[in-house]
Amino acid sequence: MQIAVVAVSVALLGIAGLIFLLQRGGGGGDDESRPAKKSVFGTVQMVLGGVQNANAGGPATLPDDAANQIMQMIGAYVDRGLVAPVKTGKPPENIAELFDAGTQPALEGPDKDILFESGQPERTGDFTPAAEPVIITALSDGGGQFVLATATFNYSSNVVVKGGALQTARTVALTFAPEGGVWKITGYDATVSRQGAQVDVPAATAQG
């Protein structure tokens, strides 16, 4: 009888240990160098909330294809610049093509940490991004040609990192201009605020 109790106890301990190791991502890694991640990934859908036309000439309405292209660029910006880095723990990739030639230097300057997520602190748990609808203000010239468009939206996320949850909120205004027939980002105004775990810089702004 005693042998049976000991055997069951050992078995239970073994099972508990196995569960513990599995929960740590297979075991073997330490928290400092390889934080475990849950497989819960966030997604966010950027929705057009409205278009306001600013006409320097006669009345004109931003064509749907232009609005759609701008929304696609915003989606790419959010996916590549804000969501993917948090998911992967790596800096954003393939973002340069979203910006025009004059704005490229900003991608390497201090503004990049305000415009984009860096992948740090590394995610250790759930990631929940959210965005409010995008409002586009579009400028047409005297001939009715649309030459500039500013898209404004709020983006926020909640991500579990080592030490707790990190909340991030951004107010982003991206100004687009056609370059070679493609609407690209030619100016930006961004404000980011962070609170929670591992917050080094609570708030910052960028303009370019």
Binding site: P105, A177, G208
Partner: protein
Amino acid sequence: MSTKPRTILFTLIGPPLCGVLLACLVMAAWLATGLPTPAKGDTWFSVTQVPPIGGASFTSGQPGDVQFFLAVGNDSRDPNGVGLGDAIHVIGINPQARAATIIDIPRDTAVGGGGKVNSVLANSGLPQFTQTIAGFVGVPIRFAITTNFAGFTDMVDEMGGIDINIRQPMHDTDSATDFDPGPLHLNGPGALAFSRDRHSFAGGDISRTENQGYLIITALQNIQQRNVGPAGTLNLLANLGRHVQMDNVSYVDLYRLGRLALTIDPANIKNVVIPTGGGAGTNLSPGPGIDSLFADFRDDGVLQTH
């Protein structure tokens, strides 16, 4: 050079990226103030692109580079005319440092062995005037802007006036100033009077020229305090677009002009009148130390030793 109605003739030299601080002020005024749309058909600006002026080897055309501009107030009472260049300001903007310098050139300055430099504008037009000033100062001026009496007063009124601190008594019947020291709100005619008064100061035209630079800086302060945000920028740019004639200059250029102005801290703008010496008649010869001043100015648009 053709003259334009209520002209701010705005010459773009080189790749279109940045602009004149005064031009920036004008652009930013509309970007920053949500004022009613001005009267339709009232053209204030003409924007022209002209061939680059030489000596631009140290500017590559990137937004972060130092830019040099020319702002000229001309004395035409004709809303359609361009007169003598009586208010001459070369502006260097260093976007990286978010700083700028205004070099004020008295209208009576004799440049290049000729007569008063102000006559070049009336006789030869803004592009030639720009080349003359660029050669004098030794900087590659990229944009130039001029406005006449009517255009200036309309601009100031449209931006809602300028809150300024009057630094010394100004009571002059010729220019119509009647200002005591202290804070004051100037409307268009008041700002014009402030800019024209040379009799209220012992320094005469030298003091007047310095005051014009001070007015530019003050206007920038006013504009920055009225920022309406990125989306409002385009609405206001649409208003401005109804009053500007652009030749080879895009709305993106105008957008960047306004943005550039809004990034410069007025506290980081130096306002310096060039030294002048004696001369024949009322002509003023460039004074001692001018080479040193220009050298300090041209390297990065910011004065370190002056």
